[in-house]
């Protein structure tokens, strides 16, 4: 499963990368610092899942979701904002992680997501 990490904060990206690297079958294939960069990477293809922050420069995570390609990768929101969860699922997110991210947190959606990727 190829994962793109989208967060404007380097330390947050580093944390997710480290937590994901220990999960079997998960490969971090890129990072994005803002919503526009996320969309550009997603449109190029080669990504199965995006871990997407909400508050980012240029385009927020939810704004980027509004422009998401129809055949785009699945999205797991990863944010400090608990209040955007309903909107996130309405826009098609498969999961919602809250910061600070626990070491075990990415493994739960990661375990679920490959099945969805294969479907």
């Amino acid at each position: 499963m190829k994962v793109l990490i989208a967060d404007d904060e380097q330390l947050a990206r580093a944390r997710l990368t480290r937590l994901l690297q220990v999960i079997d079958g998960v490969e971090v294939v890129g990072e994005a610092k803002d919503g526009e960069e996320v969309l550009a990477t997603v449109r190029r293809g080669g990504v199965d899942v995006v871990l997407l922050d909400v508050q980012m420069p240029k385009l927020s995570g939810t704004e980027a979701m509004a422009l998401w390609p129809a055949d785009g990768p699945m999205v797991i929101f990863c944010t400090a904002h608990a209040e955007h969860a309903v909107k996130a699922f309405d826009t098609g997110a498969v999961d919602y992680l809250l910061k600070p991210v626990r070491a075990s947190a990415p493994s739960t959606p990661a375990a679920r997501t490959p099945r969805r990727v294969r479907e």
């Binding site: 420069p57 400090a80 910061k99």
Partner: protein, 297 residues
């Protein structure tokens, strides 16, 4: 007829005022009897002046209102009515005061937590620092603890020293820079020592959070500048915060700056001024400015 109108005017104008003067809110009733006698004397004096003195002076003939029994009833009405009206005025003032206190408490409750986005992102960073750099993690935990302690202490106050408010603002800047040292450059133009002025808690913090969210937090890199100065006598305090990023007007649903404006209105009753506007070349920067009298009520 003119005598009746005169009595009514005197009744409305004098009775409640004399009651309020003699029996203000929170009065220690140890001298209540003396005040009651004084109140009765005022009532009797006013009514007898109008019911006996004025007719005699103007050689008016006796009427129903000038009869002894009528005058006694009017004095009684003056005293009871003054008590009722004066008490109502007291209730109204108390309700207004309680409403203002409740609103102040509500606004402080809104400000009782730091921006959750900032808080949880900082905690997320600390979690990672625990792995990468224990010393930085320790510093961040201590900074964050001091900041939360300051916020909790500010919630209990209607105003506190400017120095405390600026300490809080500095902690927020420092924590942002600890997370990303290149996020912005800070210009801290604060007099040393900090002016001894009282301000409403979290008023500068609100400006800082707003500047960080819509400035560096929205991808606008550059200089963030906080300037504090006092001028005049009595002093007027000016706090000016400038950040990169265009001012896009007030955003629907945002409550930070509207809450700040209400907090200032309650604390200073129109004597404080708050403005936020574009600045710099092409209005590419945002300036928020507070002008506060040197005393908060």
């Amino acid at each position: 007829m003119p005598l009746g109108v005169l009595m009514c005017v005197a009744f409305v104008a004098i009775a409640p005022v004399s009651y309020r003067v003699l029996f203000p809110d929170g009065l220690d009733l140890s001298n209540g009897a003396v005040r009651l006698v004084l109140y009765a004397l005022i009532g009797a004096g006013v009514i007898l002046s109008l019911g006996v003195g004025v007719p005699r002076t103007l050689n008016m003939r006796a009427t129903f209102l000038t009869e002894r029994t009528s005058l006694a009833v009017i004095v009684a009405m003056f005293l009871v009515g003054g008590w009722g009206l004066g008490r109502d005025i007291g209730f109204e003032q108390r309700v207004q005061r309680l409403q203002a206190e409740a609103e102040r408490a509500h606004l402080l409750a809104l400000r009782s937590t730091v921006d959750p986005h900032f808080l949880f992102n900082t905690l997320n960073a600390i979690a990672e620092w625990c792995r990468l750099d224990g010393a930085v993690a320790e510093r961040a935990v201590l900074e964050l603890s001091a900041m939360l302690r300051a916020v909790l202490s500010g919630v209990k106050e209607t105003h506190w020293p400017l120095a405390k408010e600026l300490d809080l603002a500095r902690m927020v800047f420092d924590l942002h820079l600890l997370r990303d040292k290149d996020l912005f450059a800070l210009e801290w133009a604060v007099p040393d020592p900090v002016p001894n002025v009282q301000v409403p808690p979290m008023c500068v913090l609100t400006l800082v959070e707003n500047a960080m969210k819509h400035g560096p937090g929205a991808g606008h890199r550059g200089l963030v500048s906080l300037t504090v100065r006092t001028e005049g006598s009595p002093p007027t305090l000016t706090v000016r915060l400038e950040n990169p990023g265009r001012f896009a007007g007030s955003r629907p649903g945002s409550h930070g700056l509207p809450s700040l404006e209400r907090q200032l209105a309650l604390a200073y009753r129109g004597r404080a001024r708050f403005s936020i506007h574009g600045a710099g070349e092409g209005d590419a920067r945002t300036v928020a400015e507070l002008e506060l009298p040197g005393d908060a009520e």
